[in-house]
């Protein structure tokens, strides 16, 4: 079954669905989203489900702020079937080293200058917010009450249903097998369900973005790395904000559902696309959690899983077109925060594709910044 589309978006996660919705909202017709499995089956559905505006660079702060403000009104804007479960319980990011203290004070100043209401707290003040923490392990903390959590499945579903209402077609369980080009321009996409001719392709394939790039002859400077998470049984509400530490390597949040979700990074995690679970993670995670949040040692773990961070060298996403192939756009390399940036990704990519002035300047988030050596290093990533 062959057909024609104005835009083909590869990837049915938060980014692809949000881009589709924003393009359709701006009047673009005949948009097709291709997803290998089902919507949110990849990194979106495997993420830690947090959203924060506390970043160390202006660019990431602005992207996250735009997204947070969107999520505050998303139930109405997207006319959702299921509430997206946005809970703004805040993020408490603890400083465990002198270097972090110094950096966090700079971060707070930057965030405040951009209208993000973060405050710097002493260990004692931090303990008032999360009483069950061991404050002797920390030197200080920053807290932004507007940060929080939302349900990745319902959020992706909400974008997809809103996009469908505007005429977007979703092809799930469809695999992209090739990309065709002619004279330096995109001409179409081969899939296991037929060929789609199109002048515009958006690569929003998460961990598979590099492979999709290769199909188009575009080298995308990213790599996928496994990250693991565990979840506990649901209990009564006892921790409002996300607890996070870069130096101590943990993020831990209670969802509105009552379960605690926690994860950590590990430089030794494989980069071969595998998403199996390891016992080492469970052990390390339990150790870190019991040390920093001793009360949680009584909670039962019921499940662990893994997903892919699509990493760039500077932990900022890659947005926009590429000079070597007209009509080929990238929205990838989110380095573990693609879900929270979903609304910004959709809006800014739609504006870029339509040649409009973007709401936030993303010209320096293009792929070629790595060749130019113009990295925007983000100091705050788990």
């Amino acid at each position: 079954m062959n057909k024609t589309a104005n835009v083909v978006i590869i990837g049915g996660g938060i980014s692809g669905c949000s881009i589709a919705y924003n393009l359709a909202k701006k009047g673009v017709k005949n948009i097709v989203v291709i997803e290998k499995q089902y919507l949110a089956s990849g990194s979106t559905g495997r993420c830690g489900a947090g959203i924060r505006m506390q970043w160390g660079t202006e660019r990431n702060c602005l992207l996250a702020k735009l997204s947070t403000e969107f999520y505050e009104n998303a139930n109405e804007e997207l006319e959702v079937v299921h509430d997206i479960e946005f809970k703004q319980g805040g993020y408490l990011i603890v400083a465990a080293t002198e270097k972090e203290v110094e950096q966090f004070k700079k971060n707070v100043a930057l965030q405040n200058s951009l209208g993000i209401p973060t405050v710097y707290l002493s260990p004692k003040e931090a303990k008032e917010i999360i009483p069950h923490m061991d404050e002797s392990k920390i030197l200080g903390a920053t807290f932004c009450p507007k940060d929080g959590h939302l349900n990745p499945f319902y959020t992706t579903e909400a974008f997809a249903i809103a996009a469908k209402r505007l005429g977007v077609e979703f092809m799930t369980y469809t695999t992209v097998t090739g990309i065709t080009t002619k004279n330096g321009k995109v001409t179409g996409v081969h899939t296991d369900k037929g060929y789609i001719s199109t002048p515009i392709i958006v690569n929003a394939a998460g961990g598979y973005s590099k492979i999709i790039g290769q199909m188009a002859g575009v080298d995308v400077p990213i790599y996928a790395q496994r990250h693991q998470i565990l979840v506990t049984e649901p209990v009564e509400p006892l921790q409002d904000p996300m607890y996070m530490s870069f130096a101590l390597n943990i993020y831990c949040q209670q969802t509105p559902h009552g379960s605690f979700i926690m994860g950590r990074g590990d430089d030794n995690e494989p980069t071969d696309m595998r998403i199996t679970s390891s016992w080492q993670f469970m052990e390390e995670m339990a150790k870190t959690c019991c040390e920093l949040l001793p009360l949680l040692s009584k909670l039962r773990v019921i499940r662990q899983w893994a997903g892919l961070y699509t990493m760039t060298e500077d932990a900022h996403p890659i947005y926009g077109g590429v000079k070597e192939l007209e009509g080929f756009y990238l929205a990838c390399g989110f380095s573990g925060h693609g879900f929270m940036l979903g609304p910004a990704t959709g809006l800014l990519m739609a504006e870029t594709i339509l040649g409009e002035t973007t709401t936030i300047d993303i010209s320096n988030l293009d792929k070629d910044r790595f060749e130019r050596g113009e990295l925007i290093l983000e100091p705050s990533v788990v």
């Binding site: 499945f153 049984e233 679970s277 052990e283 339990a286 150790k287 019991c290 009584k298 019921i302 662990q304």
Partner: protein
């Protein structure tokens, strides 16, 4: 017979059956209105003049099969739910039977139901191809069933066979009811993994040991797939819920 049982006789059915030739041409209305009732919305609703003008409102409708396009407008306008559309051109082996259905819950598209004849006896399994419930239908939904061609003049109703109720809990850990599960299937979620992710069913302390087969059964019923051929979800560690403190030592797991 009709007065006593509500079941028309063979002769009555034959008197309103479109010819084989007409049936081979495409969809057509079958008006099974056998009583003189003061009622004429079928006539007033037909835009093609296919139903003869009523001289007396008590007359029974007379359909001109050649003028009828099988559009189905009379089906939703008949207060007696006595009109059906049959389409024997639906596929090589199957006919479509469109049935007015004023009951809840409505079946969802894609599920299989037991098709019944005019006596309420089971005839065959049939797939619900379409459920139309637009505003202009004024609360008379129309259910399209795909049935073997030879039953196009037999199948007139169906049974959504089930002994669970919508309030039955399917996933006890995450409290998903059968009604909620069916709503998700109706929305288009068609695999165990999709249902699990969107509803959390199977993500509770029992890790799907209770609900997995129940959800699969319902999905099988809805999609016509065999349970043994349906994709499973990933089995994830730990096998049994374990306290974080027991993993590090020091806390008893009980």
């Amino acid at each position: 017979m009709l007065e006593r049982t509500g079941i028309p006789t063979k002769a009555e059915i034959e008197s309103i059956t479109p010819s084989d030739e007409r049936r081979r041409k495409g969809p057509v209305a079958v008006i099974e209105c056998f009583q003189k009732i003061p009622c004429n919305p079928c006539y007033t609703s037909c835009k093609f003049g296919a139903i003869r003008e009523f001289k007396d409102i008590n007359e029974r409708p007379v359909l001109d099969f050649d003028k009828c396009t099988g559009c189905g407008i009379c089906v939703v306008n008949c207060p007696g739910l006595a009109i059906f559309i049959i389409d024997e051109t639906y596929s090589d082996t199957e006919a479509l039977v469109k049935i007015p259905y004023e009951f809840v819950p409505l079946p969802y598209e894609g599920i299989f139901v037991t098709a019944l004849n005019r006596e309420g006896k089971p005839i065959c399994r049939a797939k619900v191809v379409k459920v139309q419930n637009a505003k202009f239908q004024d609360k008379t939904p129309v259910v399209s069933l795909a049935v073997p061609k030879e039953y196009s003049m037999e199948v007139r109703f169906f049974n959504i066979d089930d002994y669970f109720s919508d309030s039955t809990y399917i996933c006890r850990c995450e409290e998903l009811t059968l009604g909620e599960l069916r709503e998700l299937i109706r929305m288009g979620y068609r695999t165990l993994d999709e249902i699990k992710r969107i509803s959390r069913a199977g993500m509770g302390p029992c890790q799907g040991r209770t609900c997995r087969q129940l959800i699969m059964q319902e999905l099988a019923k809805a999609t016509g797939q065999k349970m043994e051929e349906m994709p499973m979800t990933t089995f994830r560690p730990p096998v049994k819920a374990i306290k974080l403190g027991a993993l590090t030592g020091g806390v008893d797991n009980e």
